[in-house]
Symmetry: D2
Subunit: 171 residues, 4 copies
């Protein structure tokens, strides 16, 4: 009965309009598939938007891995896991995800999550990434990193990974 | 929409028959209330039993905080959070629980969780504890520790905590 | 060239006079042996005192494992490791120690460290402990816990452990 | 008496000849300044080389933050801190360093450390980096990232940071 978990990473304070809009749509699409949305849990940026999107869908399940017991969680979280480990919790975010999606141009926090995901050999999808992150992570990913332009394409890529049509170590 | 989480701690390899039976019953009772069951997630002892009990109830939700990415999770978990932090994850177990229940005689791992719960000022219920743990944790708990003899009594105590009929800092 | 590390745990805010005096003396005695003093690193209670004692000895080395990047470290620390993991760092304290000493009556934090030390099968010495902690941890320790009345006796016990005159899994 | 700590990050299994040679030289140069060498502590690659270099200098101090209690530590470590947190310990590496140096072309682990260092606003020096990492981290670093071609130049940059001739939030 273990649920399939899609981790959605992205900027908090620095998220731009496109990232927020795509995170909102992606959250809803993940929820429609019956998958769990995992995020860093804060009430800002991509984290906030992806949970908002997911909770538009009845029966959705949102899981937030909070950095601290004093930071405000997104109000759209069903399950709040409190780590009090600050950015060391980024490793838990990726280890607990079956696939990791980075939404939009990366800040340092998201870049750390994608690097940790590659270290853990998790499949990674970069949705509308910036050029510099794309170049580095395609190189480091050795075939485990895909690019998507839209949330719909992101879902299609996850489905292809699950069907084994494209390779993945862990799905 | 944040769900209420009851953390159930207890021995893995060393759990005795009473602990296993009470964990099974407690898991079902927590699920019947619509609360989430949180455990250390391993497929053994109290962790295994409490998830088994919960999954007898339709609509239940079980959350496991795994110590490692190589240890086997309980098959009755809906949500698996992988920490790869070994026993340091015990602190996440208690920080993520609204109330912490220790089920049965304690081993060293459970004792660490109850001590960490008291440090974090979480309300604690000891269900059928051994005498030595009871003595120490009642002293350390300064009023935040309750004793229960049965799973039914444990649920009643949680409800009283939530209604504010007995004191609690965090419920 | 790996240095032998003695972890000294004990209360912060709640430490009593005896604990502080014994921690001060113990720090000096550990340093005289050429061993490293490890503590939780805060500028209060047993942590502060044991580092103060050690730094009275030329050539001493004090290592503090800080819970947070914003808490004040003891001014007598040579090496400050910043974890930002709050009480989850207690597990690092014990895993990094060759032997773990609890100094004085225990609070919840110290009790969690001793429980985690036993879980990790580290040798433990309780120096002037309270009765309730003694009873529980002697039971949980299954032969791995010793009691000492004085810092001098604590050092003698560590030496006996190192010579193998009394059993230990890890020394 | 808190010692100044230089964290040296770099590849383990994948380190190339230049990285190893520069890590060896850098370790010796850091030690000559009387600074502590911090590394991820494993007995391979840049971690092994930087500790080897440092221990050629009398009075040097090497500190390793090990990911696990079962992995072999570098034999040139004076102080071994065992985290059992696997790659989540990368955050401790950077939080405990006054300045973070990435030695050579980056793998995913090192990239995560540099991203976490920037998140924590630690000053970063990239020694002989690959082009892709340079481009991303100069962009993410907003002035907090410097490039060096040699270990000697790395030391000069650290000294300039400490004198405040170039900006730094934390030195």
């Amino acid at each position: 009965v273990r649920r399939f978990i899609v981790g959605v990473m992205g900027q908090g304070e620095g998220a731009d309009e496109l990232s927020l809009a795509q995170a909102l749509e992606l959250g809803a699409l993940i929820a429609k598939e019956g998958w769990v949305v995992l995020s860093g849990g804060r009430d800002i940026g991509v984290m906030k938007a992806v949970n908002q999107g997911a909770k538009q869908i009845p029966g959705s399940l949102t899981l937030g891995i909070l950095p601290s017991s004093v930071v405000a969680p997104s109000p759209d979280l069903d399950i709040v896991v409190v780590t009090d480990m600050h950015n060391a919790r980024n490793n838990i975010n990726v280890l607990s995800s079956d696939v990791v999606v980075a939404c939009g141009a990366m800040g340092a926090g998201t870049a750390s999550e994608i690097a940790l995901a590659l270290k853990a050999e998790k499949p990674v999808i970069l949705l509308s990434p910036d050029a510099e992150s794309t170049t580095l992570f395609l190189k480091l990913g050795k075939g485990g990193v895909r690019i998507a332009d839209t949330p719909v394409q992101t879902i299609a890529t996850i489905k292809a990974l699950r069907r084994g049509q494209i390779g993945s170590e862990t799905l």
